[in-house]
C-alpha cells in the first residue's frame, strides 16, 4: 500500500467516522456554525425565555444593561483582573464557584452579561456555553469587552 493510498484511507475513515458520530450523538452540533444572535432592543433582554439562549450585545447595549443593574461577569483570567473590572462585575476562574455565585445573586432565569478582554478573546463565549450547561437561561456576550469599555472611557473598578 503506497503512502498516498494510506493518506487517502486515513482521511476518508476520519471524515466518515466524524460525520457519522455527529449523526448518532445526543449532543450533536450543526454542520455549519451559526453566528450568535445580536440583541439590538433593550426590551428583548428583559423577556423571559422558554429555551436557554446565548446572545451578543455591543458596547451601547452593554452600557444600557449596566445602567439597568444587570449582573456583569468577567471571563478574563485572574492575572488580568488587576487592571480593573467593569463596576460590580464578578469573576472566578472556578466555573462551579462562579455558577454558585450567579445563582445566589440572580438565580437561573434572569439575564446577565459576560465579557472578556476584546473582540477576539473568545473566553466570554466559552464561559457562556459552560454556564448554559449549568442551567442559566439568558446569557449575553458583550462583544468588544474590556477593551471597548475602557476605550470608551467608561467607569472601571480596581480591586486591591
Amino acid at each position: 500500500m503506497s503512502t498516498k493510498q494510506q493518506v487517502k484511507l486515513i482521511i476518508t475513515v476520519s471524515v466518515l467516522v466524524g460525520l457519522i458520530s455527529n449523526l448518532v450523538r445526543s449532543d450533536a452540533i450543526s454542520w455549519v456554525a451559526e453566528p450568535i444572535k445580536v440583541v439590538k432592543n433593550v426590551n428583548d433582554v428583559l423577556l423571559t425565555l422558554s429555551e436557554p439562549e446565548i446572545r451578543e450585545i455591543d458596547l451601547g447595549m452593554a452600557k444600557s444593561l449596566h445602567k439597568k443593574g444587570l449582573l456583569f461577569v468577567d471571563a478574563r483570567a485572574e492575572e488580568y483582573l488587576s487592571d480593573g473590572m467593569i463596576p460590580d462585575a464578578i469573576a472566578n476562574d472556578d466555573v462551579g464557584l462562579l455558577s454558585e455565585q450567579i445563582e445566589y445573586l440572580i438565580g437561573y432565569e434572569k439575564g446577565f452579561v459576560i465579557y472578556c478582554s476584546d473582540d477576539d478573546c473568545g473566553s466570554s463565549e466559552e464561559l457562556a456555553y459552560e454556564l448554559q450547561d449549568f442551567g442559566y437561561m439568558n446569557i449575553f456576550v458583550f462583544k468588544g469587552g474590556w477593551k471597548s469599555w475602557t476605550n470608551a472611557g467608561l467607569e472601571i473598578e480596581i480591586h486591591d
Partner: protein
Amino acid sequence: MQAWKLKYMIKLHPWLIVLIRILLGIIFIYASYDKILDPGKFARDIANYHIIPMGFENLIALIIPWLELFIGIGLVAGLMVDGASMISGGLMALFILFIFQATLRGFNIECGCGLKEGEMVGWNKILENLVFLGASYLVWHRQQKLFELFPKTPLSD
C-alpha cells in the same frame, strides 16, 4: 572507541525513532480525546482564530479529532505509519500557521490544542508544535521499519 560509538549510535537510532513514533502517537490520541467528547468547544476554539470562513469550523471540529485519533493509533500500533506520519506533519504545519497568525495578530485566545486545559496561543505553542513537526519528519524518513504491523514491507521487522 569512536567506531564502537558510531556503530552503537546507528543501532540505537531506529529504536529511538520507534520511541519517538510511539510518543507522538500517544500525544495525538491524548489530544483527540477531549475534542471528540466535546466538538462544540473545539469548534469555538477554532472560530476564535478568525480564519475559517462561512462557519466551516463545525465540520473541521468534527473531523480533525478523529483524524488525530486514527493517526495516533497508527503511530502507536505501527499501522500505515508512512501515511500517519505524513498527515501528522501536515497537521502540525497547519497548527503552526494557525497559532502563528493568531500570535502575530495579538489574539489572547486558547489554542484548542487538546493537551492542557486553558493553554493560550503564543511562541511557546509554536515551538512545541515545531518539535512535533520535527518528530513527524523523523518518523516519515525512518530508515528501518521496526514494529510495524501493516503494511508489511521487506524493511519491516
